[in-house]
């Protein structure tokens, strides 16, 4: 029963993701987020942080995994609230539209 529910949950997420991609909404959201993050200076802040990390590790020894490990938590934290709210609002609207189906 639990397994079936879990399965059902996963199925649902997969279905939603599918829908997001199919309608192109995911691309639109990604583009919106990118623009907003550049606009509010998130990228510059993260770049400065990157420089520190890279200088620490040495230019030759930088790997993508290191960067992702260092950057992602910072990136998540640095996203401004306004951007986060706007994005969530867009997602909810999308879900509501497709939940009614």
């Amino acid at each position: 029963m639990v397994v079936s529910k879990m399965n059902k949950d996963a199925q649902m997420r997969a279905a939603i993701n599918q829908k997001l991609i199919e309608t192109g909404e995911r691309e639109r959201l990604k583009e919106l987020l990118r623009a907003k993050l550049i606009e509010c200076g998130w990228k510059d802040q993260l770049k400065a942080h990157c420089k520190e990390v890279i200088k620490e590790k040495g230019l030759e020894h930088v790997t993508v995994d290191d960067l992702v490990a260092e950057i992602t938590p910072k990136g998540r934290a640095l996203v401004p609230d306004s951007v986060k709210k706007e994005l969530l609002q867009r997602i909810r609207t999308f879900l509501a539209q497709h939940a009614s189906l």
């Binding site: 997420r13 992702v68 990136g75 997602i91």
Partner: protein, 354 residues
């Protein structure tokens, strides 16, 4: 397919919210991952630190944000207050008005300003010459020029010729002022007033001869023009006059007119008598008027033929040496009006004019 069956309507709000958060985290992570790829690529390609500059130079190129300055820290309207000095009138004019001013000042376009300037300058000269009439400058300078644009100069000499005899405000004077340079022809009785010259190259031999019998004719070193004043023009010496006549008319030509005007019935050929007459003449010359050129020439023709030229020249020379005062005016008139020297001048002048 299946999604439609288990449609989202069955999910409660908290579940939807969780899914939304999850999707958001996904998106942010995507962006972060994209950014990380970007940075990694930049590092490996070596252009990640290219836009790095040291803080000092960053400070130099900082954007200035102050009132009155542009972003480079310069005063942006500094040229508004700039002034240029006009090379013509040496006034300082606002830079924005400089071009229009030059146009007017240099007299391009319409000549009004240049003409006005000249008029002002002329009026100034006139005033000046009226105030210092005793200024003898132009008597002594040989720089007179043909068609002397300086009317003031002409007027000055005018005045000097007539000064002893005439009120500056007399009608005759004002009339002469109205003459323009070119209007006075060579036959004009007052041509010696007009300190102009004529170019001898353009004259034929007859003209030259007649000219040299009536006028000074000395060629100015400066303008290469002949002096058209009277034969006793004070600017030039008899020596110069003789040289010119010898040059043009040959060595046989002397100064008949000078001789004749000197040697008249009032004295004979002896030196002592000549001296006496000269002294008499000196005494009266200041007061007697200068004779007009035309009357003089007639005299010359009347008396000048039979006289001893060498003798008379001697006396004339002596005269020019001895008499410092009297050379300027009226040798010819002297002999005629000896009996009553001071009175007659003015009427005679009016006769000439009218």
């Amino acid at each position: 397919m299946k999604m439609e069956d288990m449609s989202l309507s069955g999910l409660d709000n908290s579940k939807l919210e969780a899914i939304a958060q999850e999707l958001y985290a996904d998106l942010v992570e995507d962006s972060c991952l994209g950014f990380c790829f970007e940075v990694h690529r930049a590092v490996k390609c070596g252009y990640f630190f290219l836009d790095d500059t040291d803080p000092d130079s960053m400070k130099d190129f900082e954007i200035v944000d102050q009132p009155g300055l542009d972003i480079f820290g310069q005063v942006f309207n500094q040229w508004k207050s700039k002034e240029c000095v006009c090379p013509n009138c040496s006034r300082s004019i606002a830079a924005s008005r400089f071009a229009p001013h030059l146009e007017k000042c240099l007299g391009m376009g319409r000549n009004s300003s240049r003409i006005a300037n000249r008029r002002i300058a002329n009026s100034n000269n006139m005033n000046k010459s009226e105030s210092d009439q005793e200024d003898n400058d132009d008597i002594n300078d040989n720089d007179w020029s043909y068609g002397s644009e300086k009317k003031a100069k002409k007027r000055k000499s005018d005045k000097l010729w007539y000064l002893p005899f005439q009120n500056p405000n007399s009608p005759r004077r004002s009339k002469s002022l109205k003459h323009k340079n070119g209007e006075l022809s060579n036959s004009d009785p007052f041509k010696y007033n007009n300190s102009t010259g004529i170019s001898y190259e353009t004259l034929g031999p007859e003209e030259l001869r007649s000219l040299l019998t009536t006028q000074c004719g000395v060629i100015s070193e400066h303008t290469k023009k002949m002096c058209t004043r009277s034969l006793r023009c004070p600017q030039h010496t008899d020596e110069q006059r003789r040289t010119v006549r010898i040059y043009f008319l040959g060595p046989s030509a002397v100064l008949p007119e000078v001789e004749s005007s000197l040697d008249n019935d009032s004295f004979d050929m002896t030196d002592s008598q000549a001296l006496i007459s000269r002294l008499q003449w000196d005494g009266s010359s200041d007061l007697s008027p200068s004779d007009s050129g035309s009357s003089k020439t007639s005299e010359n023709q009347g008396w000048g033929l039979g006289t001893n030229s060498s003798e008379s020249r001697k006396t004339k020379k002596k005269k020019s040496h001895l008499s410092l005062v009297g050379t300027a005016s009226g040798l010819g008139s002297n002999k005629k009006k000896k009996p009553k020297p001071p009175a007659p001048p003015t009427p005679s002048i009016y006769d000439d004019i009218n």
